[in-house]
C-alpha cells in the first residue's frame, strides 16, 4: 500500500511540476477569452463599419420589377427608384464608374428569392454595404404594412419562449435542469483532452527512457498501473478545480462590475438545479468513461514501442469520443433511434452519448442503469487488457505486442 502511495505522489508531482502543465492550463482559458473577445470586438467594428458604408451610399440606382419595394422607404434612404427601361444604361454607368451600384429586384423575387447587384468595384466592404442596403430596403418594405415599429421588430427578430416543463405532474426547472449534468459533458472533454493523454505519455515515456525495468523489480505491474491511474485522476481533479476557480472568479468579476451574463433559453445561474439521479449517473458515466479511456491509452502505450507509435493508435480513441457530435440532433430529439441505441452501448462512444442523454433527460432509469453496467464492464475489460499489455509489453523495446498475443491464454 505504501508503494502505491509513493507511485501516486511521484506520478502526480512529475506531471504538475512541469512548467508546460501550468502554461497550457493558463494559456487555454486566456486564448479562449482572447478569441471570443477579438471575435466580439471584430464583429462590432465590422457591423459599425458596414453601417457607415450603407449611410454613405447615395449614388446607387434601384430598379424594382417586383412591385414589393416601397418608394417611401427608398426616398427615406436618400435614394430614388429608377424606371425599368433604364436598366441597360444604368448598368453601363456602373461599369464606367459613374454610378456606385445598381440594385435590381426582379419580377419573380417572391418565388426566386434573388435580386441582382451591379457594383463598380471589387471592394468587399462596399459589396457588404450595398448588400445590406438592398436587404434593408426589401425587409423594411415588406414589414412596413405591419404598422407599429414594435410589431415590425417582433416580425424581424421573433420572440423567446417562457417554457414550463412538467415531469410526473410536477413543474421542473426547464432548461436550468440541464445545466449541472450538461457541465459534466464539458468536464469530460476537459479531462479527456488533458488527463487521458497523460496516461499514454506516462507509460510511453517510462518505456522509452528505459526506467521501467528498475521499477518493475520492486513494483507489481498492476500496482504501477493503478498508481498511475490514480495519479492521473488527481491531476484531472487539480485541473477541474483550477478551471472552476477561474470560472468563479470570472463570474464574481462580472457581478461586481454590474455586467449581467445573458444566457439563452431562459437559463439563469441562480436557478441551476441539482437532481439526484441525473447527477449520480452523470458523475458515474464521467468517472467510468475516464477510466475506460485511460485503460485504452495505457494499452496503446504498453503494447507499442514509442510514444509516437502509441499516439497514432490513440487517435482512434479520440475520434470515438468526438463521433457523438455528428449525431447530436438525433441523440437529443430522437432517443428511440437504433443508431442512438447502438452508440449508447458502444464502448468508444458510450461515455459522451450517455452524458448527453443524461443531461437532456431522455434515458429511462432502467436504460441508465443498463448503460452504466455495460460501461462498467467495458472499463474493467479495458483495465484488464491494459495491465496485461503492460505485463507483456513493458519490457519489449523493439517490437509491438500482437493483438493475438494480448488475448492468448498464458
Amino acid at each position: 500500500m505504501h508503494k502505491l502511495r509513493h507511485i501516486i505522489r511521484h506520478e502526480y508531482l512529475t506531471i504538475i511540476l512541469q512548467p508546460s502543465f501550468w502554461i497550457v492550463m493558463i494559456a487555454i482559458p486566456l486564448l479562449m477569452a482572447a478569441v471570443i473577445g477579438l471575435t466580439v470586438i471584430g464583429n462590432q467594428s465590422s457591423s459599425q463599419h458596414v453601417a457607415e458604408v450603407v449611410k454613405s451610399l447615395h449614388n446607387v440606382a434601384i430598379i424594382d420589377n417586383s412591385g414589393l419595394i416601397n418608394h417611401h422607404v427608398v426616398t427615406a434612404s436618400k435614394l430614388q427608384l429608377a424606371p425599368t427601361d433604364q436598366f441597360a444604361s444604368l448598368r453601363d454607368q456602373v461599369r464606367t464608374g459613374k454610378l456606385e451600384a445598381l440594385i435590381v429586384y426582379p419580377k419573380d423575387l417572391a418565388t426566386g428569392r434573388q435580386y441582382q447587384i451591379y457594383l463598380t468595384s471589387t471592394d468587399f466592404t462596399k459589396l457588404s454595404g450595398v448588400t445590406t442596403l438592398a436587404d434593408n430596403l426589401l425587409k423594411t418594405s415588406l414589414f412596413l404594412p405591419l404598422g407599429s415599429p414594435q410589431i415590425i421588430a417582433l416580425a424581424q427578430t421573433g420572440a423567446t419562449g417562457d417554457i414550463t416543463m412538467f415531469k410526473n405532474g410536477v413543474v421542473t426547472g426547464g432548461f436550468n435542469d440541464y445545466i449541472a449534468p450538461g457541465l459534466l459533458i464539458v468536464l469530460f472533454y476537459i479531462i479527456f483532452a488533458f488527463s487521458v493523454s497523460y496516461m499514454l505519455t506516462s507509460v510511453s515515456e517510462e518505456k522509452e527512457n528505459r526506467s521501467m525495468e528498475m521499477v518493475l523489480t520492486y513494483v507489481k505491474p498492476r500496482s504501477l498501473i493503478v498508481g498511475k491511474l490514480l495519479a492521473v485522476s488527481l491531476v484531472s481533479l487539480t485541473q477541474v478545480l483550477f478551471f472552476a476557480l477561474l470560472a468563479v472568479i470570472g463570474y464574481l468579476v462580472m457581478v461586481k462590475t454590474g455586467n449581467n451574463i445573458a444566457l439563452p433559453f431562459g437559463l439563469a445561474i441562480d436557478k441551476i438545479s441539482f437532481h439526484f439521479w441525473p447527477m449520480f449517473f452523470g458523475i458515474s458515466y464521467l468517472i467510468i468513461g475516464f477510466l475506460m479511456f485511460a485503460g485504452f491509452m495505457t494499452t496503446a502505450a504498453a503494447a507499442t514501442t514509442s510514444a509516437k507509435e502509441a499516439n497514432n493508435y490513440s487517435s482512434v480513441f479520440f475520434i470515438g469520443a468526438f463521433i457523438p457530435f455528428y449525431f447530436i440532433t438525433t441523440i437529443v430529439t430522437d432517443p428511440g433511434n437504433s443508431i442512438v441505441h447502438f452508440l449508447t452501448f458502444f464502448p468508444l462512444t458510450s461515455p459522451v452519448i450517455t452524458l448527453i442523454r443524461n443531461a437532456v433527460g431522455n434515458m429511462s432509469l432502467a436504460e441508465s442503469w443498463l448503460a452504466l453496467g455495460t460501461m462498467g464492464i467495458f472499463m474493467l475489460v479495458s483495465i484488464w487488457v491494459a495491465v496485461r499489455a503492460f505485463r507483456l509489453g513493458a519490457l519489449e523495446y523493439s517490437q509491438a505486442i500482437k493483438l493475438s498475443t494480448l488475448f492468448k491464454r498464458s
Partner: protein
C-alpha cells in the same frame, strides 16, 4: 557449509513459444562476484529478469535467500539492468529517493543515502538538476546509486561499465569491490573479459540458453586448458557441440 544466496535449479524459460533457457542450474554465494557471460541473445538478461520475478519460469526454481522473489520481497536486491534509464524530467535527488522508497526505505534514510552517494561520486552539486541535464556517464552513476541503495544482499549488474570513461569505470569497479568485501553477492554480466579476470570468483558461460562452462575462474581456465577467460569464451562459441562442461 556456506549457504548460497542465489540458487537456481533446472531452470527453463519459454518466451513467445521459443525455448530461451534449458535446464540451467547455478549458485551464487555471499561476498562473491559471479560473472554471468554469454553472447548477445544467449539468455542472460532473461535469466536475471526471471530471477527477479519479472518473468515467470517455465520450469525449475530460482531462489534468493531460499525464496522466489516478488516485487514485494525484492528489496534485498539491487538491479542495474542493461536497458536502463531514469525519469529524465525528474530531479536527481527526487528520483533516487523515489527508488529508495520503492525498495522500502524511509524517505529520510533514502535522502541521506542519496546525498552521501552523490557526494562520493562528485555529483552533489547536481542533486537538484533534472536528470536530462546530466551526461550519459553521470546518469549511469545515478543508476548505480539507485541499484546499491538500501544495502542489497544481492547486486545484479548488467553490463555496468558500458559507455563509461576509464575514471568512472574504475570508480564503479571500486564500489563493486567494496560491496563484495561487505558480503554482498554480485551477479556481474559483461562482455569485457578483463573485468571478469579482475573481479570474478565464479563464472558461468551461457550459449543458446545452456550453461557451457561453470566454476571458479581458475577451474574454468584449467578445464579448457586456456590462459584466459577470453580464450575459453571464444572456444565455446566456436564449438558445435552442446555439451555442458562443469569444472
Amino acid at each position: 557449509m556456506k549457504k548460497p544466496i542465489v540458487s537456481i535449479k533446472d531452470f527453463s524459460l519459454t518466451l513467445g513459444g521459443k525455448l530461451i533457457i534449458k535446464n540451467l542450474s547455478f549458485d551464487v554465494f555471499p561476498g562473491e562476484v559471479f560473472a554471468f557471460l554469454g553472447s548477445n541473445g544467449s539468455g542472460k538478461t532473461s535469466t536475471v529478469r526471471t530471477l527477479l520475478g519479472i518473468y515467470e519460469p517455465s520450469g525449475g526454481e530460482l531462489l534468493v535467500n531460499g525464496k522466489s522473489l516478488t516485487p514485494d520481497t525484492a528489496a534485498i536486491v539491487g538491479y542495474l539492468p542493461e536497458e536502463r534509464g531514469l525519469y529524465t524530467r525528474a530531479k536527481v535527488l527526487d528520483t533516487m529517493i523515489y527508488f529508495g522508497e520503492l525498495k522500502g526505505m524511509e524517505h529520510e534514510t533514502a535522502r541521506q543515502f542519496s546525498l552521501a552517494y552523490l557526494e562520493r561520486v562528485e555529483l552533489a552539486d547536481k542533486a537538484n538538476l533534472k536528470i536530462k541535464k546530466l551526461s550519459g556517464g553521470q546518469q549511469q552513476k545515478i543508476q548505480l546509486g539507485v541499484a546499491i541503495m538500501g544495502d542489497p544482499k544481492l547486486l545484479v549488474l548488467d553490463e555496468p561499465t558500458k559507455g563509461l570513461d576509464p575514471m568512472n569505470r574504475k570508480l564503479l569497479l571500486d564500489i563493486v569491490d567494496e560491496l563484495k568485501q561487505q558480503g554482498t553477492a554480485v551477479i556481474y554480466i559483461t562482455h569485457l573479459m578483463e573485468e571478469v579476470e579482475r573481479l570474478a570468483d565464479q563464472l558461468l558461460i551461457l550459449k543458446d540458453g545452456e550453461a557451457r562452462a561453470y566454476g571458479s575462474v581458475a577451474e574454468v581456465k584449467k578445464q579448457f586448458q586456456s590462459k584466459s577467460i577470453e580464450d575459453v569464451f571464444v572456444s565455446i562459441y566456436n564449438e558445435k557441440s552442446s555439451e555442458v562442461t562443469h569444472a
